[in-house]
Amino acid sequence: MRRFRPVRSIPAATRRPMVAAALGLVAGTVAAQPAAPAIDTGDTAWMLVSAALVLLMTPGLALFYGGLVRGKNVLGTMMQSLAAMALVGVLWVVCGYTIAFGSDLGHVVGAFDYLLLRGVGGDPLDGQSIPHLLFVAFQGMFAIITPALIGGAVAERMKFKAFLLFMLLWVLLVYAPLAHWVWGSGGWLLELGALDFAGGTVVHISSGFSALIACLMLGRRRGFPGEPILPHNLPLVILGAGLLWFGWFGFNAGSALAANGTAALALVTTHVSAAAGALAWLLYDWIKHGRPTALGTVSGAVAGLVGITPAAGFVSPAAAIALGAVTSLGCVTFVTWRTRRGIDDSLDAFGIHGVGGTIGALLTGVFASHNAAGLLTGDARQFGIQIVGVVATYVYVGIVTFILLKVLQGAVGLRVTVEEEMIGLDQTQHGEAGYSM
């Protein structure tokens, strides 16, 4: 809900001022405010924490992914996340933010007015109640984890150099423009009225679909799917999932940009969707394979978290249960299918983020009932808009990612040698070993 179009049918009257304050889109309210909008310490406190929580998700992802690969690739896999923190951390401040949130150019991209954060200070943006700098930081954390998610599809075989360059270009050419479309003032999807509370399209579909393209272009890992390639350390995976669940409260409830009822709603829906997703996959494994697995449980939780992301501030807790369970079952169905088909989306970056993000984005248009309306609450148009948003994201992300990878393939090559793959990325790409005696 960085910025969404408040629909006419906001249910509780009490919510209106909150929405207005958060968004500054209701003319009257804005007019009523003094010229210099004030900082609210409570909102600021919550957003300081939210930024920190979202940052923590990337080390959480590093653990989640790192535990899933074989021991010889644990550092190579974690390094993809670490490099995102290092590279995109800097990049966002230099020019990423302004491409996404600079003043609108043709509804598709931001201008360079905030280059190197020129003019960004402690005063809030119009309609916000937190320092502008804090908004930059919060958004910057999203820009870090999104490309890091892609690593899951290309794990155990992609050249580190290629991945680093890919992230650099992808954040500038894919992520930042998409963020502008959906959340930037003037962005065309925002103006169209697409609902994406915390990044179902911008974060999950974009990274997921890029991941699918990347893993198809790279090809399968040696040994896949013939040999079992099993996680080397599931406790790390569980820990990573725990940190993701925890950090996701900042991701989703923080997207209210204020410590208010919408944030509380988003926190509750996020939590129950994760729980329902975990429970659904746990039961699926039990029924289908005779045993409930730990990896299934945490995968289901992440699927539930992905699914609720676009919907968090728009749906009721009861709807969030349904949404989480449906997303989780959708993901496990896809994941089973892609494994049978021999598609080596190694850690299911598309299988969970792409599929889950798509389901979530569409279901947002079905279940929306708070701050907006959807199919079930009588707004069929919203569902159509959601489809437009999803399709546009797939198309744009697909084309640009494909071109980027083609260029990099020619320039530096995407894949390590067979020899390097067999020895492992830790030693060959990074000169280190994850574990020593």
């Binding site: 079992p228 099993l230 494994d285 697995t293 496990v332 299911d348």
Partner: protein, 112 residues
């Protein structure tokens, strides 16, 4: 002097050690290993797919004993490690040419 190598189920190690100690046979070196034989591997589930994992965890215990203790030791091991189901493991026996205790330089059976 022989080396007895016992490949056993991991949870039988304490019982085997007790059985040996009771018969006065002290000293062994133990490795974690993975084994594969007649025992069917087990199935692991990984995100909606089932994988056959051929190797199962095993403990390998190597103990060097004087020739006259070989039968005693193997009896002890068999009795403590046997459950009757496939996968209980094997014992292999090797000739040892010489032995040295590093601390003292004692050789052969004196080194044990």
């Amino acid at each position: 002097m022989k080396m007895i190598r016992a490949i056993i189920q991991p949870h039988r190690l304490e019982a085997v050690r007790d059985a040996l100690t009771q018969r006065g046979i002290m000293g062994m070196t133990v490795f974690e290993a993975r084994g594969y034989g007649r025992q069917r591997g087990h199935t692991e589930v990984y995100r909606g797919a089932e994988y056959q994992v051929a190797f199962r965890p095993k403990i390998v215990a190597d103990l060097v004993v004087p020739d006259n203790q070989v039968d005693d030791a193997t009896d002890a091991i068999v009795s403590a490690a046997k459950s009757g189901s496939v996968g209980d493991g094997k014992i292999f026996i090797f000739e040892v040419g010489d032995a040295i205790r590093i601390r003292t330089g004692d050789r052969d059976e004196n080194a044990l």
